[in-house]
Amino acid sequence: MSETGTQTVRFVRDTMLPEAAPPASQSGAVKWLRENLFSGWLNTILTILGALVLFQILRGLVPWFAHSVWNAQTLGECRQIIAETWGEGARGACLAVVRDRWTQWTFGFYPAHLYWRPVLALVLLFAALAPILFSAVPRRLMAFSALFPFVGYWLLWGGTIWTPVVALAGFVVGYAVWRGMAKRNALAAVLLAVAAALVWWLFLAGPVERALAGVAPLALESVRSSSFGGFVLALTIGVSAISLSLPLGIMLALGRQSDMFLIKTLSVCFIEFIRGVPLITLLFTASLLLNYFLPPGTNFDIILRVIIMVTLFAAAYIAEVIRGGLAALPRGQYEAADALGLDYFQAQRLIVLPQALKISIPGIVSTFIGLFKDTTLVVFVGLLDPLKGITDAVRASTDWKGIYWEPYIFVGFIFFLFCFGMSRYSMYLERRLKRDHR
């Protein structure tokens, strides 16, 4: 305090009071609580209700998990350990079943010494997806993405390497024909390329494959699709259906936007039909009816049939997603393409689709999440999906008969991890795309 205090003019104060701390109700935890939990009578009620619900859930779950047993060979042993450790009547999770059978939930009946193959396929899948999903990765790696279906197929099913190579060669043949002819006549080039590829696949591929296999027998141990199960099956069906459905979905979306009446009608009918029936009826078609629709005597793998039907199913949904992407493009883009004198296919290939597909990626990811969850339905046609197929098989063994909650909670947790991760990624993508378009 200064000496001049007494000489200052009255009522005017030139010294500051020391800063006081805010009242208890306006700072720290209390303020936070008041603002966020108890800001009014309604909020208070909600908070109390929420806390009660949370408490009830935790009260049931926490002891159950705390009493969990990881080391046991049978359910009986498990229950005995819980009773011995935590007293009679204690309930606990018998997670030993997960420890005992987790390989089955993951790989189904895939041969144990070949587990590295699906794992490697999954790793390569991520590598193949990286250039598509993350813009930081060099575009040139896209070539690997295009190769992946063949590599993945070979890794999962095994057999001679020449099968995928010969199948791939069909595309090369078609491409070569197209390149050779494109200068002279664009339309004829496309038609000829398709024809050449078909001729290759239908008539030449088989003999060539056998000849090559005879010369250089490079082969992995072949694994039949009936050994597929669990998450390997779910991912195989999900990933192949989504990737196969992309070209089909793009065609359907373009077809739906087409000016040609017949093409538009057919596309709309197909899309609305598929979207109007439950997936389960399509799976029934795969397992019960496809044999009627194909030439008598044709008979092929149920997994392949399921993949075909799920692909058709996914194509209708992808078509709608891409249609959204096409609709979101500013009209000016189409007009600019016309102004440049590009024809329909050039405009689609060079201007419209690259932009529309980019906008559609979040939608495609959501479709994939939905599809991945829906792969659990294949149990209704007798395939061993992780949720019910494998779980029922595990419960049919005398060791684990009668176990109910644990398998479901384990499988649900894995599904949650996958789907939550993907949905977060799709949200991140949406935010990034929004910024790009501002």
């Binding site: 009946f109 044999n291 194909l294 008598p296 008979n299 029922d392 063994s397």
Partner: protein
């Protein structure tokens, strides 16, 4: 033409499972393995273990047929089927043999174009209830809630039984045996109905089997047997006589352990014919002469299979009952090998 073209595509895809032609035997031989449709979740009858090996009563029959045809009981691919998909899987050629506790009925034999090769298990539908319910007869179940597996003959039998006795009930439809068990244990239904063998195997796995009783009434006949496609008699014969060989082997005391010895040293001409040391029975069905020897060596005779998978020494604990040899008062009666 269309067929070959389309099939060519599939071969390229490497996933073709083969054309189902009229001669199943040729298909199986060409393929080098037997496709056998099974129920993936019935303890004791068919279930895969932790390493994916299938075991069980129905599974053993598949292995015996594979051994008879291909000489190797391991050359079987087990195709899990559901109650709904099983008949189509057989009709479409996806499986060569349906060994999935399927009841032999008139309409299935005729209308569904299947042929039953015999009966490998004589069963009947019954009820299981809790001891403390105080019910001692199915006739006292008026007004009860009954758990029942859908897509089987059991629901028709149940409806008929209650109608015939002028009683009412509430059906609780369930999808699989595991769910039925869970529902019943939780008290979701008063009674659980299915084939008695299934009830016994379910009851055996309970923590407190003594608190549950299987009621004495058997409300239906359930001859369970392997089925093949209608119209391929040669294949039907092979399955029928493989089953017969297993039954006959028990009757004559041929076991997995002594089958080689019996083949070489047995003086009984019927055993000799069965095991292929005398006569040409195998050739008549298009198989090698020692087919039955392989079939028996695969998992033993009928009795050995029974006691190893569902018999009284197993947790399932089923008595032979109707499934004993005719000489023991049961219904198993192998046709003569001649």
């Amino acid at each position: 033409m269309t067929k070959t073209v389309f099939f060519g595509t599939l071969t390229v895809a490497g996933l073709a499972a083969g054309l189902a032609s009229a001669a199943t035997l040729d298909d199986v031989k060409a393929r080098g393995e037997l496709n056998c449709g099974v129920n993936p979740g019935l303890v004791g009858f068919a279930a895969p273990d932790a390493s994916g090996n299938w075991t069980g009563f129905d599974v053993s029959l598949c292995r015996a047929v594979a051994a008879a045809v291909l000489g190797d009981p391991q050359k079987v691919r087990f195709v899990p089927t559901t109650a709904e998909t099983r008949f189509t899987a057989l009709a479409s050629g996806e499986i060569d043999l349906l060994a999935r506790n399927t009841t032999w009925t008139f309409s299935r034999d005729t209308d569904l174009s299947m042929d039953f090769a015999g009966v490998n298990y004589y069963d009947g539908q019954g009820f299981m209830v809790r001891q403390d319910l105080g019910v001692t007869s199915a006739k006292e179940l008026d007004g009860a809630t009954v758990c029942i597996q859908t897509g089987t003959t059991t629901e028709l039998n149940l409806a008929d039984y209650f109608t015939a006795n002028g009683m009412t009930y509430t059906p609780v439809a369930i999808q699989s045996n595991a769910e039925g068990e869970q529902q019943y244990l939780a008290g979701g239904c008063d009674a659980y109905t299915t084939d008695i063998s299934g009830l016994a195997s379910t009851r055996a796995a309970f923590a407190d089997p003594e608190n549950h009783v299987i009621l004495p009434e058997v409300i239906s006949k359930e001859p369970l047997g392997p089925a093949v496609r209608h119209g391929d008699n040669q294949w039907g014969d092979i399955v029928r006589w493989t089953l017969n060989a297993l039954v006959a082997a028990e009757e004559y005391g041929v076991t997995a352990a002594n089958v080689e010895d019996m083949a070489a040293n047995s003086p009984n001409p019927e055993i000799k014919r069965l095991l292929g040391t005398e006569g040409e029975l195998g050739a008549m069905t298009g198989l090698p002469n020692d087919w039955a020897k392989h079939a028996i060596a695969a998992g033993g005779n009928y009795g050995e299979i029974f006691s190893a998978t569902i018999g009284e020494e197993t947790p399932i604990g089923l008595a032979r009952g109707l499934n004993a040899q005719w000489t023991q008062g049961g219904l198993l009666y192998a046709q003569p090998f001649r």
